[in-house]
Amino acid sequence: MPASLSWQRSAEARGAMPDLSAPDEQLIRSFRAGNEEAFDRLFLRYQDYVYNICLGILSNPDDARDAAQEAFLRVHRNLERFNGRSALTTWIYRIAVNECLGRVRKRRPQPPVPLEDPQAARLRDPGPQPGDGLARAAQDQVVRQIVAGLKPDYRAALVLRYFQEMSYEEMRAVLRWSLPQVKVKLHRARKAFARAYAEAAEAEQPPQEETLR
């Protein structure tokens, strides 16, 4: 073992906290040595990602909050056994996705929420709208509701691909699907979303715009 690493581990054992920019491996070692603060740093580092995965799949902020906490509880319980064969992020995301999918599958399927928000009329123009934060948020809410109406696997595929901007390879690692499976499910998810999105947009269109093209 290099002398620097040996010293580092000794410092962790003494209870010294790794600095804020410490890599995940160092924080894990510190946590294993009994330093709970190291886990807090990991939590703060990944809470946004985990929360967004949960929000994307569950679409309800309260459910997402609960699922994110449950996912971190699982991470906390199992971190000592994490053997580093995959990246820590992959492992954490996988736990979060599994937690959310488990919740989705347990509850009864819900029909897509009807788009009653007046802002939904902006569906036909989904491009960026600088300065219009409220409209942006409403648009996001509409998209999340449509995603929440899809099959669980499709939700996970869309969320990881679009909301988390993962590559196919990362999705494969997180979802434990084969690469062809990732591509096929993503393709089907995209088609299902496009269909639902178009239907929602048409439902919000005034009659005179029906023939607009």
């Binding site: 946004d48 056994r81 496009a194």
Partner: protein, 398 residues
């Protein structure tokens, strides 16, 4: 380009935002259905990409801590609920045995006997509230001490179940209440004696398997998540028991059981009980040490003079100490802690260096010696108990 080819191209390429070929543009200009489909896909793609990432709630961490605490409380509660019936059963069985003995025993012993039985029952209830680990690898020292405890107990074979409770029961009640403060060796003695008494009084059919309360050393020896019974047969602790079987060595080990005497750091103690899976067939010792070091995430050094050794090891989810002891025994070495590292080295020659070897910073460390310390760490709650992996969490397959 026909409509079918256009649809296929759109579905494939819209995500990539690939430039449209001229013939596609031409087709879209003339085919309304395909143009609508293209517009639909592009709109959906843009909408998905435009979703903003939201920040997690600010109090998520604080809430998490609250849940962590409440979960720890919940975890303790089922332990009571789960084991209390067995504790009651053990107490009842002991009481039944005591009643029989009171009936057939000499009259002069009645009062003393019942008092001792009550104390034993109280102690058994106290001991049974902690759920046992799944593992069953016994510590050599614990076994040796249990034998010693049984030798010290009073009574013949017919009265053995109750007579064995006399030793722990004779301890002052105040000392019982402060069981966690008592030396581990004393705790082991008491627990073993009480458990044996309960097991025997409950009958051979149902006693030992259900009422057996593991000693601290067993708790330490078993990895919390995967029981150490998954270790292959080659990791048999019996030779170690023989090695430590001498009275002098047991006495020396007992003297060293105070936390101050065990010179291993918490890092080393945690690593020693970490489960490792290593398979080596006649491998160089240095390679075996390296593999174990990686598997348990702890630095293990091999003294330069011992580089030529060979190791044969089949460990599957066995605690590191068991695997290390195996290869150390194969090469006539001992395990010694050095700060946050472990060293495999030759034992000091007893005649000349005995005192230094057993008391210095590089004092050799064996399972029976560090097991109580590991158990203390775990029992005091510093290290978390590891529950079974959740169904959704791929903790072992990452």
């Amino acid at each position: 380009m026909n409509c079918r080819q256009v649809r296929q191209w759109l579905e494939r390429a819209v995500e990539m935002a690939a430039p449209e070929p001229a013939e596609l543009r031409e087709h879209l200009a003339h085919c309304g259905a395909c143009a609508r489909e293209a517009g639909r896909l592009r709109a959906a793609e843009a909408a998905l990409r435009a979703v903003a990432r939201e920040a997690a709630p600010e109090d998520l961490l604080a809430d998490f801590h609250r849940r962590l605490r409440s979960e720890a409380g919940r975890r303790r509660a089922p332990a009571w609920g789960k084991w209390l019936p067995w504790a009651s059963a053990g107490a009842l069985a002991t009481a039944a045995a005591a009643a029989v003995l009171l009936w057939v025993g000499p009259l002069g012993n009645h009062a003393l006997q019942s008092t001792r039985d009550e104390e034993a029952e109280q102690q058994s209830v106290q001991q049974m509230i902690t759920p046992p680990p799944a593992g069953e690898v016994a510590s050599p020292l614990a076994d040796a001490e249990a034998k010693k405890a049984s030798r010290n107990s009073v009574g013949g074979s017919g009265r053995a179940p109750v007579a064995r409770t006399q030793k722990p029961a004779a301890a002052p009640p105040a000392a019982e209440k402060k069981a966690s403060a008592a030396p581990p060796a004393v705790q082991n003695n008491r627990r073993k004696a009480v458990v044996e008494a309960e097991a025997e009084s409950a009958g051979p059919g149902k006693g030992p398997a259900r009422l057996r309360k593991p000693t601290d050393a067993k708790i330490a020896a078993a990895p919390p998540a995967k029981p150490a019974t998954t270790a292959t047969a080659s990791l048999n602790p019996q030779p170690a028991a023989r090695a430590l079987g001498g009275r002098r060595e047991i006495a020396a080990a007992k003297r060293r059981q105070s936390p101050a005497a065990t010179d291993a750091s918490p890092v080393v103690l945690a690593a020693l009980r970490r489960p490792v899976t290593v398979a080596l067939q006649d491998a160089p010792l240095s390679r075996a040490v390296e593999r174990l070091s990686l598997a348990a995430d702890v630095s293990i050094r091999l003294q330069p003079a011992n580089q030529d050794g060979k190791a044969m090891l089949q460990a599957r989810q066995a605690p590191l100490w068991l695997a290390l002891e195996q290869i150390a025994r194969q090469n006539g070495l001992v395990i010694a802690p050095d700060g946050n590292e472990l060293i495999l080295r030759r034992p000091a020659r007893r005649a000349k260096h005995l005192a230094a070897a057993w008391s210095g910073p590089l004092a050799p460390l064996r399972a029976a010696e560090f097991a109580p310390a590991v158990a203390d760490v775990r029992l005091s709650g510093l290290k978390k108990a590891r529950p079974a992996p959740p169904t959704g969490a791929p903790a072992e397959r990452n």
